[in-house]
Subunit: 357 residues, 3 copies
């Protein structure tokens, strides 16, 4: 992760920050605070770690604005780079020192590219890639080994499709999209009519449309629509092993953590956050900005801005067994308490009568 | 999705339906009700949407028998196609307009096919496919790029193995089976004997047997048996990212939704439905026709026809935190209520005595 | 699974066991007890099945030491092989009859191997494998079709990478590691700074380090660290479809069942067991030897040796609906009971006063 050095003044310009200390120091890498040394910049987003700062060997530390008191400052050997959001500052400086890899823009002779595919300039295609008929690959995109692009699929510009990504026929991917290894886009939705012996497959003749700046984690699956489109909105980020069923529509800048699953035709708004292992039933809406806690089950439409949970926290096993056994008796317990209440109420009235007598 | 047109009379014959209106209209596609226009047939399975019918621009609408009153009928511009199950009718007509794609029956020179493999007639093998020694591929089956067929594996006729499907050695797949992209069949079961440093791998020397007409979703994993067979019964449908452990046996026409997991040696009957994210422990049985709700944990054998759940519905986060904190105290609450009950019972007897005095 | 036969005496030496009966019998395979016949050895770990023994057609049965009474013994036609742990004995004997497959040590001309990669002796590389620049493959390792090894990645000796495994750049794999089909090692961690439109990707510039004797199940994903390393400790076993996030550190000989997920930077000790579908939040520790039950959510640091659960067992659906509806009212119920308690306490004091009057 070593790249040509930048002065702290140069870095400050990139992140709209203010240097406290020597802005001429040359920085050549980003390090975790415990591994930082001369030449490295580190960051501090959490006040819990302020006490580490006087032992920090980094040349510079990215911190929030007006966070570090003058008194504390005097004991810190490193220069400070004050920014509005130290985490964003860290991300942007890390991008400088870890530029998106340059690919060589060559197309492997060991790839299988249909003669009717349209491949733009500076595209890199590794060996063992398959590109179907009439598929389009946008400028500077990279297809790693084992990638499959179906007939009539469209990949935008500056995309990275990691090894063994599958984009089936007719699906479209916007610009600057990153699909991690093993992602499947456009598998058939899980749709059947009828029952048992008479069950009939509903052909899944729709597509998937992934908009610009989306990133999708390893081995996540996104099914094509039955009719119409499954849509992943601009800027949304989806983690590993997530299931997106047919005809789901996800808004912009929504974040979905690992192993969450969204059932068919559900509409998720923008800026929504689904934590890990969340399950969402089909045919509902989740409003803009809603936040759903880990392992929760979403069974009904959720209002914009709502914050919901149904996850449970692990407790000592023996005690939990008792809880588990009692839980189905909750209705009985309620009835018991209601009955007791009545009885006690009856006494109270009797006592009153007694007192009045 | 445009195909040569069919008259409504022709379509009626396929779905055993009755036309109300002009049965000579030519239909050339199936559309969602909101996107339908002249030439398209749409369907209506849910009475909620009857009110849309008078604005519907489709040439024909598939509906249930004797569902639409004469009064309602008079306001509907489209012809009606009455069938026993409109959803099945829709599926069958969609199949007509979206026929299973024809593949060209050629074997790519960029595939690696063992000289001892047996490939039947009209099989299509795309580039970058691997077929091992003595493997058999049945007539008209299609192996998409990146498919791996291990030594001695058997694939039936008319199967479609989507990109990057893996079928390891010795496993067998019936006829008309669809394996979606990234499915793994025959990975080693998760079996070890002993503990810690002394843990020993139990060789997984069994196989997986997938019967006819099964469909398995993207990136689902089906482990081979330790000894014997893991079996997926005829006509069963399994969604994406499902885990089927070693020696599991699944009956016919069972449906398993996304991200469900079934632990080792469990036997699932026929016509069972497991909803999304269900977990089933090892070494139990789930009887025929049982239905398990989303995110439920199945810890004991389930009787045929039972309908079970243990999923929880997400509630406002702050309130849920209180519920979560109180839940482990449920045994204490019960004890408290029991004690109260006794005390109140004591009063009641005291009061009775008082009254008798 | 038939291999050259061994006498029971020979097998007894391998598993440090004692033969009761004819130790000269020749055994040529291992069978499940219900399928055993002459020539096969089977095993019995569970006393439930003792009654099967007198009908067992196996030539020999592996059992625990001093488990079978002389009386029971007299009715059993098979020889007995007594060992300390019959399950481990079974595993070791199965290994003898199912030796790790020999691969031919050839490198396919249809693989794409960078000229700067270093491939040790006796490595087997199947067609359609990709090996990047400066990558190292240790002696006798096997790369199945579709495997991707990124630049600078290191694979140890005697590893087996099943079809379509992806090991991205810079990651390292120890010796005798087994990665099942579709495993992804080194995908980017799910890391962003900022919100909504202003969200910025944090480059994930760390790596994954997998130590010796690890086995990882099909389609499991292990993300590379943001900075530093994601680590899987020696001898740990991970099942299918598991998610390991960036900067997670897992100790030695830990076992993680299918579909579990571990969020970022969490540290798991050694000899830990996580059951299926467990979710663990980020930035916590799970101590050595802890055991977490199926579907549990781990939201806080767990002490060494603790045994925790929060999974729920499926109950009849209609009754469960009532439980689900009442659960959010648990705080109300507690308040009600507390109020009742006070009231009853008040009576009790009143009654006492009455009695004293």
């Amino acid at each position: 992760m070593t790249a040509p050095g930048k002065t702290l003044a140069e870095l400050a310009r990139v992140v709209d920050g203010k240097v406290i200390g020597d802005d001429g120091i040359v920085i050549d890498r980003v390090s975790a605070i415990e591994e930082a040394g001369p030449g490295s910049v580190t960051f501090l987003a959490n006040s819990r770690y302020y006490s580490h700062l006087n032992r920090c060997r980094a040349s510079a530390v990215i911190v929030g604005r007006n966070i570090i008191s003058d008194e504390l400052r005097s004991g810190i050997p490193a220069a400070l780079l004050e920014v509005a959001d130290p985490y964003v500052g860290f991300a942007k400086i890390l991008q400088i020192f870890s530029p998106i890899e340059r690919y060589d823009g060559t197309i492997s002779a060991q790839a299988a590219i249909n003669a009717d595919a349209v491949v733009a300039e500076a595209v890199t295609i590794f060996p063992h890639v398959f590109v179907g008929a009439r598929a389009k690959i946008g400028a500077r995109s990279v297809l790693f080994p084992g990638v499959f692009i179906g007939d009539d699929a469209v990949i935008g510009s500056d995309c990275i499709l990691h090894p063994n990504v599958v984009v089936r026929h007719g699906c479209s991917i916007g610009d600057r999209v990153i699909l991690h290894a093993g992602v499947v886009v456009g598998s058939d939705g899980f749709g059947y009519a009828g029952r048992s012996e008479g069950r009939v497959k509903i052909p899944q003749v729709g597509v998937v449309e992934i908009h610009d700046d989306v990133e999708i984690g390893a081995n996540t699956t996104i099914d094509r629509a039955a009719l119409g489109k499954t849509i992943i909105g601009r800027g949304s980020k989806i983690d590993n092993l997530v299931q997106i069923a047919h005809n789901v529509v996800i808004g912009e800048h929504t974040v979905i953590a690992a192993q969450a699953g969204i059932a068919g035709s559900t509409k998720i708004g923008k800026d929504v956050i689904l934590a890990g292992q969340v399950g969402v039933v089909n045919h509902i809406q989740i409003g803009d900005g809603a936040i759903i806690g880990p392992q929760s089950g979403v069974a009904q439409t959720v209002a914009a801005g709502a914050m919901l949970s149904s996850g449970l926290a692990a407790a000592p096993h023996r005690e939990w067994l008792k809880v588990m056994a009692l839980l189905p008796q909750l209705p009985k317990l309620w009835n018991l308490v209601r009955a007791l209440e009545k009885k006690v109420e009856g006494f109270a009235q009797g006592v009153e009568k007694d007192n009045r007598r």
